[in-house]
């Protein structure tokens, strides 16, 4: 809907009088940003073309460039990105500053890689990533957007991953879903950190939520696959990653009870379902004959988890979270039909039936509450 239609709608709803509506229309016409966007678009394309061209030329002649020049150039770009951040710190818009910082974070890994190449160093990738994480951390305090926190969390997660691998701690957990439990535990730890970060840096807290829910979500999908596997798990080998995960879940439950109090029933239910889904994927006997029953239990647990997450997100006012959880739930239902039906005809019929059920639920909602589950438009049309 363009601005004129919005103004008309506001005028019809009595929110604007004619005089103000005319004034707003005139102002918007005078400050129309379409030409600005075209200029910005052309500038961006031109800038990207030049940068890509320079990278191509440098790459084509990489072996002819002396090492000192490579190191100097990389160092100049690294420090230049900070100089750019300094120069744009006064601007009202924070995007330029954050993009310079984002470039700086990328150059950290680039210069470490270059030093390793020039001096033939290798091994211990966790140290390189940990150094990147340590040097990228101050950028998250300066940045306004959560992108820099995402980069920091990415470096941190990868560093931890390589460290555990190098220390040999992943040797015994790469089977029996041990890595899944560790990933979910790390996700829960990120989510535990949200309360601490939120008052200091809301954008970084949002990044923590993204990584926390992302890691837990990926693990939940992994557990979903395991529920359909035909293998017998030697769960004793995964007992300590599982224990770490259960402890992390317990900490979350305690935090929910302290912070949210009695009103945290849906969130606690999500945690319980998550634990049941992950632990059950390992503990239940998949070598038995009732494979279909096992698949259906896994499916039901996953759907219940998605539903509780969607409700919790809706209660928290997160439209994106609600929609995403609902989308994942729909995807899982579709996957089940393919798993069980194994042909398109049966799958199609099952999907139509499921659609009918969904519409029936929506109708039931409307009948019970007398309220449409969507926001009505201003002109009165539903």
């Amino acid at each position: 809907m363009n601005i004129k239609r919005k103004i008309d709608a506001w005028r019809r709803a009595g929110l604007l009088d004619d005089e103000r509506a005319t004034a707003i229309s005139l102002y918007e016409e005078e400050h129309a940003s379409s030409s600005h966007w075209v200029v910005w678009g052309i500038t961006a394309v031109g800038g990207l073309a030049i940068v890509t061209g320079i990278i191509s030329v440098v790459a084509a002649n990489w072996d002819d460039i002396p090492n000192w020049m490579k190191l100097s150039g990389c160092g100049a770009l690294l420090l230049g990105s900070l100089a750019g951040t300094w120069g744009t710190a006064r601007l009202a818009s924070s995007w330029q500053r954050d993009l310079f910082l984002f470039f700086h974070d990328g150059m950290l890994l680039a210069i470490i890689g270059l030093i390793a190449q020039v001096y033939n160093l290798h091994g211990h990738p966790w140290r390189a990533l940990a150094l990147c994480a340590a040097l990228a951390l101050p950028a998250t305090t300066v940045a306004v957007h959560g992108l820099l926190a995402d980069v920091f969390l990415g470096y941190l997660t990868l560093s931890l991953w390589f460290f555990l691998g190098e220390a040999g701690w992943l040797n015994h957990v790469d089977t029996n879903f041990g890595i899944g439990f560790l990933g979910a535990s790390l996700g829960l730890v990120f989510l535990l950190g949200v309360d601490f970060v939120q008052p200091r840096k809301p954008a970084a807290a949002a990044a923590l939520r993204r990584w926390g829910f992302g890691l837990v979500g990926i693990t939940a999908i992994g557990a979903c696959v395991l529920w359909n596997e035909h293998m017998r798990w030697n769960w004793q080998q995964a007992y300590w990653p599982m224990a770490i995960f259960v402890v992390a879940a317990l900490l979350h439950a305690i935090r929910q009870l302290i912070v949210q109090g009695p009103g945290s029933g849906v969130r606690l239910a999500s945690l319980v379902l998550l634990v049941a889904l992950l632990v059950g994927a390992v503990l239940t006997d998949s070598g038995g004959t009732n494979q279909v029953g096992r698949q259906l239990i896994g499916f039901t647990l996953f759907c219940a988890l998605c539903t509780s997450v969607a409700i919790a997100a809706a209660n928290a006012g997160s439209k994106v979270g609600t929609n995403f959880a609902t989308l994942v739930l729909a995807g899982r239902v579709l996957a089940l039909y393919f798993e069980l039906a194994k042909n398109l005809m049966t799958t199609g019929v099952s999907l139509i039936a499921t659609g009918g059920v969904c519409l029936a639920v929506a109708y039931g909602w409307w009948r019970l509450r007398r309220v449409l589950p969507i926001a009505p438009r201003l002109d009165g049309a539903a």
Binding site: P66, N67, G75, H104, I115, Y119, P138
Partner: protein, 167 residues
């Protein structure tokens, strides 16, 4: 965050970058200024497809140290001695009070004793040239060894051809 705080953090980041990376480069340069020795290599493989243009190899000293190491030893220090062909080989395990020079310190990895050197970056054109070369007796790594027994690669010579560029 106000402008002054932002600029203070940026200044701290600038200093950290200069000190850490400048110091690192200076350390690597100084480490390569000492006496150079030639360490024979084996297991030469020019096709390290996952790592770009790197030649992979194994130090002969790793195999020699493996033969001398105690089964439960996690770290080993070995003395090096120059043989008649000008290359340095492991002569014995360095014991307490043994001030032999040069010496190498390695750790036990998943495939045996590891001295931390497995590959060498080469020019793309040279990498293509040496792809078909069969490494022989005049194949060795030129390196410096610091006071802590760590080797720093300077050049890799395959069948008499230097792969490292003098820059």
């Amino acid at each position: 965050m106000n402008l002054l705080s932002t600029k203070r953090i940026l200044l701290a980041m600038l200093i950290a970058d200069v000190v850490i990376f400048g110091g690192w480069i200076a350390h690597e340069e100084i480490s390569r200024k000492g006496d150079q020795i030639k360490l024979p290599v084996e297991g030469y493989d020019p096709r390290d497809l996952l790592s770009g243009h790197y030649v992979r190899f194994q130090l002969t000293a790793a195999r020699e140290a493996q033969a001398l190491a105690l089964p439960d030893a996690k770290e080993i220090a070995v003395c090096l001695e120059r043989s008649s062909d000008g290359l340095y080989h492991v002569s014995r395990v360095q014991s307490a009070g043994d001030a032999c020079k040069p010496f190498l310190i390695g750790s036990r990895g998943s495939t045996g004793i590891d001295f931390g050197i497995h590959r060498f970056y080469v020019d793309e054109r040279i990498a293509n040239e040496v792809r078909t070369v069969q490494a022989g007796s005049n194949t060795y790594l030129v390196a410096t060894i610091d006071l802590r027994g760590t080797a720093h690669p300077v050049d890799l010579v395959i069948n008499g051809n230097s792969l490292g560029r003098q820059q």
